[in-house]
């Protein structure tokens, strides 16, 4: 599968997405260093407007909103990365296995994928979160166990079409075993699809994290963009819109836009034959 690097980098969507992602990446990494105050410190006068000392003001609990925001971005981004990576790995492992070995293995994996596609992931997450209050990374992994099927199905379809290609047949002819061919030929060849799959899943995971936090399903002391929106919305009648509610809303939008644009940019330059195979969309 050929992908033209120069063409990817020239694509405006990809460039904008990359810029946003790099920006948020830096903010997430440097977050604790950049934060002027401890986001859990309740030492300031509640619900005050932005000043030189508190750039975004102070929330109802007397906490500095700007510091809160930096930690929240970090948490939301980390959740998205972890869940995106885990579902990508599951999708690769199960999709390639299913496509390469076929038969019963394929039938079983694809049936499971069908079942998972139809189950609303948010419902299982709500049930788990409400009953057990697990650590966020546990929820991220549960989510990835539920959302690998779209990646898995795309990769399976691609494996099937690569299976008959000349170089794979040649490798098999020369005595290459299944594991060897999967690792050396199929795995690297589908690299562009991994990037798209990862961006799509990370996007979905960040959206889920924000929604779960917004619904109040995480530990209340864990900073998150969704939770900040939820708390700020309860004071909608006060003058909190510009300094308290809008910053997390904008950050969440930008974060999700960044990964969406990355996926869109990559998809546009992908081999057109593949696009024809998947009805024009390689991710849902």
């Amino acid at each position: 599968m050929h992908i033209d690097r120069a063409q990817v980098i020239r694509d405006p969507w990809f460039a904008v997405g990359l810029g946003i992602a790099v920006g948020f990446g830096l903010v997430s990494l440097l977050g604790p260093a950049l934060a002027p105050y401890d986001p859990w410190s309740m030492a300031f006068s509640p619900i005050s407007q932005p000043t030189g000392e508190h750039w975004l003001g102070v929330n109802d609990g007397g906490q500095d909103i700007f510091s809160e925001l930096l930690y929240a971005i970090r948490n939301t981004a980390a959740f998205g990365l972890l869940s995106g990576l885990a579902s990508l790995f599951l999708g690769i492992a199960l999709g390639l296995t299913s496509g390469w070995y076929g038969g019963v293995v394929d039938a079983v994996i694809m049936r499971v994928a069908d079942v998972l596609l139809a189950v609303p992931a948010i419902m299982i997450l709500i049930l788990t979160a409400a009953l057990f209050r697990p650590e966020p990374w546990v929820l991220a992994l549960i989510l990835s166990a539920l959302m690998w099927p779209t990646v898995g199905k795309t990769l399976r379809a691609q494996t099937l079409s690569l299976k008959g290609s000349l170089h794979v047949r040649a490798a098999a002819q020369m005595g290459g075993g299944g594991g060897y061919i999967l690792r050396r030929h199929l795995l690297p060849e589908m690299f562009p699809l991994y990037l798209i799959g990862f961006a799509a899943k990370a996007r979905m995971a960040m959206f889920m994290e924000a929604s779960l936090a917004f619904l109040g399903l995480f530990d209340p002391s864990r900073k998150s963009l969704g939770m900040m929106i939820n708390y700020a919305l309860q004071f909608y009648y006060l003058d909190v819109w510009w300094n308290w509610l809008l910053p997390p809303v904008l950050c969440l939008s930008l974060l999700i836009m960044g990964v969406t644009f990355l996926a869109v940019g990559l998809e546009k330059v992908l081999d057109p034959r593949l696009r024809a195979d998947t009805g024009g969309r390689t991710w849902a």
């Binding site: 049936r111 069908d114 419902m123 049930l127 409400a130 099937l160 809303v249 836009m257 696009r275 849902a284």
Partner: protein
Amino acid sequence: MREARTPLGGVRVGTVVSFAAAALLMVYLSYAIPLLLPGDFVTSMYAGSQVTLTAEQEAELRAYYTRDSGFFAYLGRWVSLDWGYSYAFLTPVSDLFLEALPWTLLLMGTAHILSMAGGFLAGVEAAWRSGGRAERGMVGGMTFLEGVPEISTGVILLFVFALQLNWFPAVGAETAYAGVSGLSRFVNVLHHLALPLATLTLAYLPGNFLLARNSMILVLRASYVETARAKGLPPRRVRYAHAARNALLPLVTRFGLRLAFMVTGALVIERIYSYPGLGTLLFNAIQARDLPVIQAVVLASSVLVLGAILALECLYRVIDPRIAHAH
């Protein structure tokens, strides 16, 4: 295309079986997960209370609550809408659920129909003008919109149209105690519906648009479209009667795949506008730790989603006769 269709619409029995499996899985999870909780119901209910139980009373209570806790008994009670009582409202959970359900159906159903129709028409028109400035502008705008999550659209629309401009109400599904009926009630409900509906429609529109456009572009390359044009048919007839029918197919299949995910947005939107549907019911139940309600809403809405996807599978067969004849 061919690859994607086989597992989806190929084997009817297989599909029904996997959906039944998914539904059973959900029921089983909602039965098994609470059992995995540390401690048991009696301990957790009485641990923090003033009542001190003797060992005898405790054993009695425990026997009472574990009386018919087999999975099939649970399933039976569940099917007969016997979902227990809400801790917070002390009313049957099924009453609360059935009260909230119509509002969610109204909101989500209308949003899906609007975004599907709008996205399809816009996508077909955009693909027809492929390469032109209008098409590029539309694709750009829709891609941008796809990046904006429902939470953000909801909060921004609420701020601008409900709190600043005061054009629409910010809360609820109709004016409480207004005592209106007939047409004025209908108008009142629509007035309350407008903002949440606009938010969800905006959220669902880009996906439908981009999908319709992409598949329409592929369809327009087909030779039968060429033939239709060569016959000198009017462009609109070529577009809709010949090409667009086939561009509709991926839209319907993908809809089923996305529905399970799109429920998330609806939950959040209802909470933002305090719309009295299942999302708000679930939100309040989570706040109050009202476990029977959480369990019932989660389970019943999952089963409803499964049912909707299954219904779509059948619809798919109707609009694409090739599938029905292929087996």
